[in-house]
């Protein structure tokens, strides 16, 4: 077969970079000639190459040489004069010494501009020159061309050289396309990144379209089905998620089990912004949010807290409280930070969340809220503090002096399993005040009775005694739940107290069996 292009010695050598702007192509060629002070006549490519090769200072000028060549090759190829200069440049590059060609290739440091230059080389130089560029660039990037590729390219060139001249451009097209793919691939994935050859990773993001292109959804489906990943999948995910991530999440949800691909895809689409969009939908798509949450993990917490603070949808808030609580202690700093929000419902939700997440109070910031003017906040703090042994006593003491029944009640109930001594005088004092919630009195009396503190005794007498008898002895108060509770407490704890003993003796003589029972056995239960 003929060697039309004389390629046998090629595909082993050197190469270069580029891009372009406007300007006369001849002027640019003259610029190249002036690099070596050729001013008398227009040099040919080999002449210019010979002059440059002989110039000991040429190595210093390779950047200008390279960028000028890049500008020439970027010019409109439909103009015949331009195509002639392309041919001259091809000759120049074929005759230039390897070090100078390497310098030319290094001239363009920007990867994207280098890609443009290399694509122009593949498309606009003669095939031998284009081969030399590809081979040279392969050497510079440390990725040698495979032998089969060299053989195939030569074979293709031989075949293209054997067709009639009117078909040659068409015959060369697949060769140039291969060279273009090759150099772009070399730029994208160099074996080493020295000498300014940084890999580019963001250029090739557009997916093909048209009849031969698989739909993005299909590509993602296959990725999940085959547990396959790669740039093609990532690009398809980008396209499928361009209008929102739900279609991607839906695919992941429908997969019977997570695999490497579905996990990687989820990581790609899962962003706090997407989570925000999903959580603000009405109604909330809980399975979708769960899937996204699985991909985001704790990084979703901040946006979830924001939505929890702002959402008007009870179902959304309920969902968020539940899912945020599942993070456990990890979210405590974020949630405590949110307590600075002055809105009562935000603070209440955050406190409820701290409690549900099993966080432990400790730095004193939350305890201050026991003094909050809003009883709903005080109650929530109290409930949380009651659950922690370290703060339980503090919470009971604070709760028993609270004048709001919804705060007092949980404190009293908590005290049934242990009344702190510090809380006894507080409760004794509060119990006697007129604003003490009547519904909590029996419980409070029972707690004081159990405490054994003498501070409680006066309070018990206030409910068990109603003045004195004719003989000056304490007189039993009329029967009431509070009276029975007080008598019962005296019977249980203060039998040996002289006053209490007298009172209990009276009670045991009562004709009312409930009073007798309370006095004998302390049978009135706290409730």
């Amino acid at each position: 077969m003929s060697d039309y292009y004389g390629l046998d010695a090629d595909l082993t050598g050197t190469s270069w970079p580029g891009t372009a702007e406007t300007g006369s192509v001849e002027a640019l060629w003259n610029d190249l000639a002036q690099l070596v002070d050729i001013q008398t006549r227009r040099p040919t490519g080999p002449e210019l190459a010979a002059a440059l090769n002989a110039d000991p200072d040429a190595n210093q000028g390779t950047t200008r040489l390279g960028t000028t060549i890049a500008r020439i090759l970027a010019m409109d190829p439909s103009v015949p004069a331009t195509r002639r200069v392309f041919a001259d440049v091809s000759e120049l590059l074929l005759h230039l010494s390897p070090p100078l060609v390497a310098g030319v290739l290094r001239a363009e440091s920007d990867p994207l501009r280098r890609v443009a230059f290399l694509e122009h080389c593949a498309a606009r130089l003669t095939l031998p020159a284009a081969f030399r560029v590809a081979a040279g660039f392969s050497a510079l990037t440390g990725r040698p061309l495979s032998e089969p590729l060299k053989v195939l390219l030569k074979r293709m060139a031989q075949r293209a050289g054997s067709v009639p001249s009117d078909l040659r451009a068409e015959a060369e097209e697949p060769i140039r396309a291969t060279l273009s793919d090759l150099v772009v691939d070399l730029v994208a994935k160099p074996a080493h990144v020295t000498g300014g050859f940084e890999p580019i990773t963001h250029r090739f993001v557009a997916r093909q379209s048209g009849r031969a292109a698989p739909e993005a959804e299909r590509v993602v489906q296959i990725a999940i089905e085959a547990d396959a990943m790669g740039d093609a999948v990532l690009a398809a995910v980008d396209e499928l998620a361009s209008g929102g991530v739900l279609p991607v999440i839906e695919l992941i949800r429908r997969a019977p089990a997570a695999n490497g691909a579905s996990t990687a895809i989820m990581k790609k689409v899962a962003s706090p912004g997407e989570m925000n969009r999903l959580l603000n939908a009405d109604p909330l798509d809980e399975p979708a949010a769960d899937a996204l949450l699985q991909g985001l993990g704790l990084s979703a917490a901040r946006v979830m807290l924001e939505v929890l603070a702002e959402s008007r949808l009870r179902a959304t808030r309920r969902y968020l409280l539940d899912r945020l609580a599942a993070f456990g202690h990890a979210i405590q700093p974020m949630v405590e930070g949110r307590l600075k929000d002055s809105r009562w419902f935000v603070q209440r939700n955050m406190l409820a969340l701290l409690r549900a997440a099993g966080c432990r109070p400790g730095n004193g910031t939350v305890e201050r809220l026991l003094e909050h003017k809003d009883a709903r906040i005080r109650r929530e703090v109290l409930l949380w503090l009651l659950e922690n042994p370290e703060t339980r006593e503090l919470a009971i003491s604070a709760g028993v002096k609270d004048d709001h029944p919804e705060v007092l009640r949980p404190a009293l109930h908590a005290a049934r399993s242990g009344m702190p001594q510090a809380a006894v005088p507080i409760l004794a004092r509060r119990l006697l005040s007129a604003d003490f919630p009547p519904g909590s009195r029996v419980l409070a009396i029972g707690l004081l009775g159990r405490s054994g503190s003498s501070l409680a005794l006066d309070a018990l007498f206030r409910f068990a005694v109603a003045g004195k008898t004719f003989l000056g002895k304490p007189k039993l108060a009329a029967k009431s739940p509070e009276m029975l509770a007080a008598v019962s407490a005296l019977a249980r704890t203060w039998r040996k107290d002289k006053t209490a003993a007298g009172l209990l003796a009276q009670a045991r003589k009562s004709r009312d069996p409930e009073i007798v029972g309370a006095a004998r056995t302390g049978s009135v239960e706290m409730s």
Binding site: V151, M156, R159, P174, I175, A212, P214, I224, A228, G230
Partner: protein, 252 residues
């Protein structure tokens, strides 16, 4: 364009056409594909540029030099069989794509998909494919996993390989999505998957297997027509069978 298909060893059928007299027309392409499969078999990444070069070379011959042939090699050389099969399926797929008025870039993408459609077979031990007798259930599962393996290999290779991965994964699916591998997301195979599938089946049936001789082209045409609408896309089946029938009549 005119197309001819011959079934001599390695495509060397004398007298089929002036261009076909050139010896071993696809030798470089087949060698390159064999090397590609070897690279994958060795655990390296799929060499996409080389695969594209194969397609470029086939395209050059098909479009510019007006050549088409389907060649067959003996089955005992499994590496060479896979490579020859890949090249022939690619060539046939590209001819079909041209007949179906795909643009030039799409024809090459379809060719690329066809070249690597069976790359997952590199994960199947050679003796499983070449053994004349029955294979075990475990070996059958290994063979039936080759579309999955192929999709994995191809997806990992390059952004531009989404069609190739799709075809590799779907080329054993039937019209209704049955077949293998079993789909998580029920769907019909992509049009190009069905195109390559037909060419794959045609070349496979026209090749000798350890357990059967090659089928004559007339029988293959009859079989494809019979299964059109069930196993194969009816319109595409018509295109392929017309192509083959035209060749048969011109050859006679």
């Amino acid at each position: 364009m005119s197309a001819w298909l011959d079934a001599g060893p390695n495509g060397a059928t004398p007298g089929a056409s002036p261009a076909a007299t050139e010896p071993a027309v696809f030798e470089a392409e087949i060698e390159t594909v064999a090397w590609i499969f070897d690279e994958v078999r060795a655990g390296r990444a799929l060499p996409v540029i080389e695969a594209e070069a194969v397609v470029g070379s086939l395209y050059l011959q098909q479009r510019v030099m007006d050549r088409l042939r389907v060649s067959v090699v003996a089955h005992d050389d499994i590496v060479r069989y896979h490579a020859t099969h890949a090249v022939n399926v690619a060539m046939l797929s590209m001819v079909m794509a041209e007949q179906l008025d795909f643009d030039a870039a799409s024809i090459r993408r379809i060719g690329l998909a066809a070249v690597v459609h069976d790359v997952g077979m590199t994960r199947v031990p050679a003796d499983v494919v070449t053994r004349p007798g029955q294979i075990s259930q475990q070996e059958r599962e290994l063979v039936m996993a080759h579309p999955i393996e192929g999709a994995r290999i191809i997806m990992a290779a390059d952004l531009s390989m989404d069609l190739a991965a799709t075809v590799a994964f779907e080329h054993h699916l039937k019209t209704d999505g049955s077949g293998y591998p079993r789909l998580v997301y029920p769907r019909a195979p992509h049009y190009v998957s069905r195109l390559v599938q037909l060419c794959d089946v045609f070349h496979a049936l026209s090749s000798p297997r350890p357990f059967r001789p090659p089928w004559p082209s007339e029988i293959i045409v009859s079989y494809l027509n019979e299964r059109a609408g069930f196993d194969f896309h009816p319109g595409l089946t018509g295109t392929l069978t017309s192509l083959i029938t035209r060749h048969l009549s011109s050859a006679s």
